[in-house]
Symmetry: C2
Subunit: 411 residues, 2 copies
């Protein structure tokens, strides 16, 4: 079963908005068993919508479209699809009631635009919108399905929930298994060199991909079959041989992020953690708390952007800041120990660096970051030199801090 | 001048990785004056790369491709493009030296994969990679250009810097002006109703789009012309009439995010801020510190995930936590006042809520968030009811907190 994903909207096309919808849909549909052929982003233009749909329907069984379903004049998806499927625009009473309820609950009265949102095509099944006013549209043509959903992410997600059972009822799927193996400490080319023989001997039904990112490389093994357990077994066997080749470089089998793995280790050990963040500005805490249930092991953070906060809240020695600078081993170690004591936790991570793009010196250029991890017995500090991009430096320092914590947790 | 952006990679297609490259490239190229026609994401497959390129070259002047340039067997972009343009693979000596330098600096020796990365097509100009090993490829065919770059974001960004002058030299561009107007307090349909007449009277050269997101609607006015100043003047005139229609609902003209606007207000006033975060887990601090120069006004944050941190670090009364719960007006107000005093700042934002997906009760369902803002004279608290998605709740609470701070700053 082949799927195309079409995203409509000038804001996506010109880069004003990041297209998170296509990724989210792809992940959900890949899990069902679709082979995703293309993701296409196009403008709010009738000709372009029609030609893209024509092209997708030649090859895909299902086409999922997001965007352009709003009540304003720049939204064209409903009239264009209605014409494409030779329908008429009619008021759907269920949808009308949904909108009325939502608008009333928000304390407004129905206006003309709200009423217009109850219009759907006579040729489609309406998909009720639990979180907004625009209904989704489900068209069928032979054995093919075209679905249009709003571009607002949480409205779209609600509709995917609704239509997933409809899709599963209409089609049968093979089982697709992706197995991630997360490695650290080897570059992509070094890793490929070490794995040459293993890779050459992989069964042809297993596809291997190298996914590099700063400081780590993910390996993805993919296979397809009719029986999930058998496909998984085949992959597991290869992962086992892989583990024998690079035992020290694999930190996770599965697609768990480092923040999740660290959290699970802490929960198993019934231990707690906190962070003391300068250059990462709260991003480590944010990542840790993005995991549901993190309150079991994460007590809190002290973001000490100003030196006075480092001194007053984390008991950093002001003379050390004067002598060595805020971005130094001395300071970052004291930050880690400071938050460990202050918030009374078992583990702490601390960061202090120059995220950039300004603030660098010859001795400490932009991208210099000191990171420390500590528990009651020891404190380990390490200096990193990342790049010149502020957001990338924040992200890399965050991942490096969590990796150091992982190593300390694992002993 | 028309541009297509092709992203190659199964990890993008199946949703394992978010495609930030296409957005970033689109933004840069839109600013130069390209009309971006399509963004397409496809798999690492020879047939698909060729058919997509064929199709793009029918309509676009320039095609920018990312991904599939690595040293491993799943990377096909170089051999496929080389064959497409009927070239031969040859070692580029400059590129070889670049790689050797990079590999040596990282403390490794050149291996076979590294050497292989110095191969480029005889039909292309190599684009040197300052941040990694894979060179980029610049092909010309008549008046059309096809560029391939690595998928690693910071390597790609370095190459865009290199090729932007090459593109500007080869083509002439019209001036495109996008003007964003950020509104709050009106739904998309209500806003459209109020603006019906203004919208109908817009000059036809100006295109209007409504971009809704939780709690706010962005309006985008776009126009194109030969003279930038004239295009801008035309748009400014319309923004002026718009401002007269909804003076209280516009919080920014321009595309500045709320964290940037808040930061600028604080800097102008020479004032400082801090946050006390429970359910947002440091995300407000993270957003504020994502702005370069934020150390001028942001002193720090106390992320008080555990109640004991609320009590010990923010002086929240434990009896109030017992009586009203951690998610309550009483607690969030004390958190805001606590961090205001503790970090000695002029403004504070505090959050306490149930991000979900678990932890809700009948009285306080998942999505319930109390937010408080404070300065020396007052503290204002407000209760929100967001949705059921953890990440969305964190994000909405973050934006709501910053909006409340904005309102307080503006008086």
């Amino acid at each position: 079963m082949i799927l195309d994903i079409i995203s409509i909207g000038d804001e996506l096309l010109i880069g004003q908005t990041l297209n998170t919808n296509a990724q989210w849909i792809a992940k959900e549909m890949d899990a069902i068993g679709f082979r995703i052929r293309e993701q296409i982003t196009i403008s709010d233009s009738k000709e372009h919508i029609v030609s893209t749909l024509d092209n997708s329907l030649l090859k895909a069984d299902v086409v999922l479209i997001t965007g352009g379903l709003g009540p304003t004049n720049d939204d064209l998806t409903l009239p264009v699809l209605n014409e494409y499927f030779c329908g008429e625009l009619i008021v759907n009473q269920d949808v009308y009631k949904d909108i009325e309820q939502l608008v009333t609950r928000r304390g407004f009265e129905m206006n003309e635009n709200n009423k217009r949102q109850a219009l759907v095509s006579s040729k489609c099944k309406a998909i009720r919108n639990k979180k907004g006013t625009a209904p989704g549209l489900w068209f069928e043509k032979g054995n093919k399905v075209v679905v249009a959903m709003p571009g607002v992410p949480y409205e779209m997600k609600g509709m995917i929930e609704t239509i997933t059972p409809w899709i599963k009822e209409k089609y049968t799927f093979p089982e697709i298994v992706h197995q991630m193996v997360l490695t650290k400490g080897l570059s992509e080319s070094k890793l490929a060199e070490i794995l040459t023989e293993w890779e050459a001997n992989l069964p042809t039904v297993i596809k291997l991909a190298y996914l590099p990112s700063p400081g780590r490389v993910k390996l993805r093994l993919t296979s397809v079959g009719q029986n999930r357990a058998e496909v998984q077994k085949l992959i597991d066997k290869e992962v086992e041989s892989l583990t024998k080749i690079i035992p020290d470089n694999i930190y996770s089998v599965g697609n768990k992020n480092i923040e999740k793995i660290v959290g699970e280790l802490l929960r198993q050990n019934k231990q707690t953690m906190a962070t003391a963040e300068s250059c990462t500005g709260g991003n480590i805490a944010h990542l840790i708390t993005s995991i549901s249930g993190s309150s079991d092991y994460f007590k809190g953070a002290i973001v000490s952007y100003a030196n006075e906060v480092k001194i007053n809240e984390l008991a950093v020695n002001p003379t050390d800041i004067d002598n060595y600078g805020a971005v130094s081993q001395q300071v970052v170690e004291q930050m880690a120990k400071g938050v460990l004591t202050k918030l009374n936790v078992d583990y702490a991570v601390a960061t202090s660096g120059i995220a950039g793009p300004t603030g660098g010196t010859e001795e400490k250029p932009v991208g210099t970051v000191w990171i420390a991890v500590a528990n009651k017995n020891e404190v380990i500090a390490k200096k990193y030199l990342f790049g010149s991009d502020r957001q990338v430096n924040i992200e890399r320092a965050t991942v490096a801090g969590l990796s150091m914590l992982y190593d300390l947790l694992r002993g």
